[in-house]
Amino acid sequence: MLKAKILNEQEIGKILHRLVYEIYENHKNFNELLLVGLWTRGVYLSKRIADIFLREQGIELETSELDVTPYRDDLYTKEKIPLKTTNLISTQDRSIIIVDDVLYTGRTVRGAIEAIFDFGRPKKIELLVLVDRGHRELPINANYLGRYVPTSSREDVNVRLKEIDNVDEVTILV
């Protein structure tokens, strides 16, 4: 059941623009920067960020897709999860920004960090998320944060993106 609508299409767009500027301010060498989108919605967010970078700064950023499933710590407590594409080539000496839609326990990000290290030794790893809903179980925080949304653990944060859901919005479901 819908409890609240947190972000609409326009707000998501504004947030992504702001995050692009934050990345732009924090980095110098954009050739070594690699956006790693986590399946499913992180992949689309990373592509949007790269698009904005190209349109507004004229800078082409490299993006990759990462499926964290093999690195999850809850693999055997859940029904089997279908595998997705991973197309990372080498993370050696790259500056990485992990891109995901919701930051919750931090366990997915831990898995992503482990995966990235399997592809080389990156210079630096940062984290970008659209929504931080709290309830961290690991010492992980976002470097680039869209919106902090305090939630109860009974609630569900639902991010929908046009690429797969035909609509851009973030809602809280109970």
Partner: protein
């Protein structure tokens, strides 16, 4: 949903396609600089081979290790079977070591199915007598799908010693499930007339007729240790009538050639065909590892209490 891989008969279409889809993802892993993902970390896989094998056992071992599992190989020379232990006792002993999965090859048909009664591990049939070899059939079908897209109405010929071949049986069930039209060819001692009715396939004894419009040929190894002595008059005669060579394929240029290996070059297949551009034999080997990774994932990576049928 199966809980052991004993036969391709028990697999349903959704499961087969899921195994293939995941195998595609695992092929990516095999091309990475670090060929290891921790998806089966902490799982113990035993490969127990009562019959000699190098490629199948190695393929399973690489598959398990790439997924982060611990793989322990037991070969027959170290096995207590030599000392007179029954297969049941061997399995009970192995089971007490708490493996999550046992990959078993045995010269007697249906042994893998029999031992599912004595172990809580998932059993994978890596070849039982002349009965079945499901992981080989899955990698064959996967390789064909990779090439053709889908197998609906594709004509696939299985050539050679069908009678003694576990690969042939597993392939027939599986390829037919995927919509392919399967035909068999070989001398009448090895490709019996009754197979036509029993398995609902076409049977040929004339190779030139059989290959005239097929899309792919799966060439089987002549088992020199068995067939050569009893079922065919001489290997020379066999190679003249049923050996696959350039002259035979001259009218059918696009046909795909597969072989489960090891090959007897010059007997069932000529070298220029085996090494030619139409042969997918090396792809089969690479795909074999990815398919076996996918089989392990299919059987092992799920909730411990989920129940499946055989």
């Amino acid at each position: 949903m199966i809980s052991h891989l004993l036969s391709t008969k028990y697999l349903d279409l959704d499961e087969i396609l899921e195994i293939f889809n995941n195998a595609k993802k695992f092929l990516e892993v095999l091309n990475r600089p670090t060929k290891k993902i921790p998806i089966l970390k902490g799982k113990l896989i035993l490969t127990v081979f009562f019959e000699p094998s190098t490629r199948t056992r190695t393929s399973f071992e690489i598959a398990g290790k790439t997924l982060g599992a611990d793989v322990v190989n037991l070969s027959v020379s170290q096995s207590s079977a030599k000392k007179g232990e029954t297969i049941k006792d061997t399995c009970l002993t192995l089971n007490a070591m708490k493996p999550d999965c046992i990959v078993l090859r045995h010269s007697v048909s249906k042994i893998p199915e029999y031992i599912t009664n004595f172990t809580s591990a998932k059993i994978i049939n890596a070849g039982d007598g002349s009965n079945e070899h499901p992981s080989q059939a899955l990698l064959d079908a996967f390789t064909l799908m990779q090439h053709f897209g889908d197998l609906e109405d594709r004509k696939i010929l299985i050539l050679g010693d069908v009678l003694n071949s576990r690969v042939a049986r597993s392939n027939i069930w599986l390829l037919k499930k995927l919509g392919a039209k399967v035909s068999l060819c070989g001398p009448s001692t090895l490709v019996r007339e009754e197979f036509e009715k029993e398995w609902d396939v076409d049977v040929y004894w004339d190779l030139d007729k059989a290959i005239s419009n097929v899309d792919a040929i799966i060439v089987l190894r002549i088992q020199l240790e068995r067939a050569a002595s009893a079922w065919i008059p001489s290997t020379r005669e066999y190679s003249i009538f049923y050996g696959l060579n350039r002259e035979r394929l001259i009218k059918n240029n696009n046909v795909i050639i597969m072989h489960p290996g090891p090959m007897n070059r010059g007997l069932e297949i000529s070298s220029d065909i085996a090494d030619g551009s139409n042969a997918l034999i090396r792809d089969q080997v690479t795909n074999g590892v990815a398919i076996r990774m996918s089989i392990f994932y299919h059987l092992l990576a799920r909730k411990a209490d989920s129940i499946g049928i055989i």
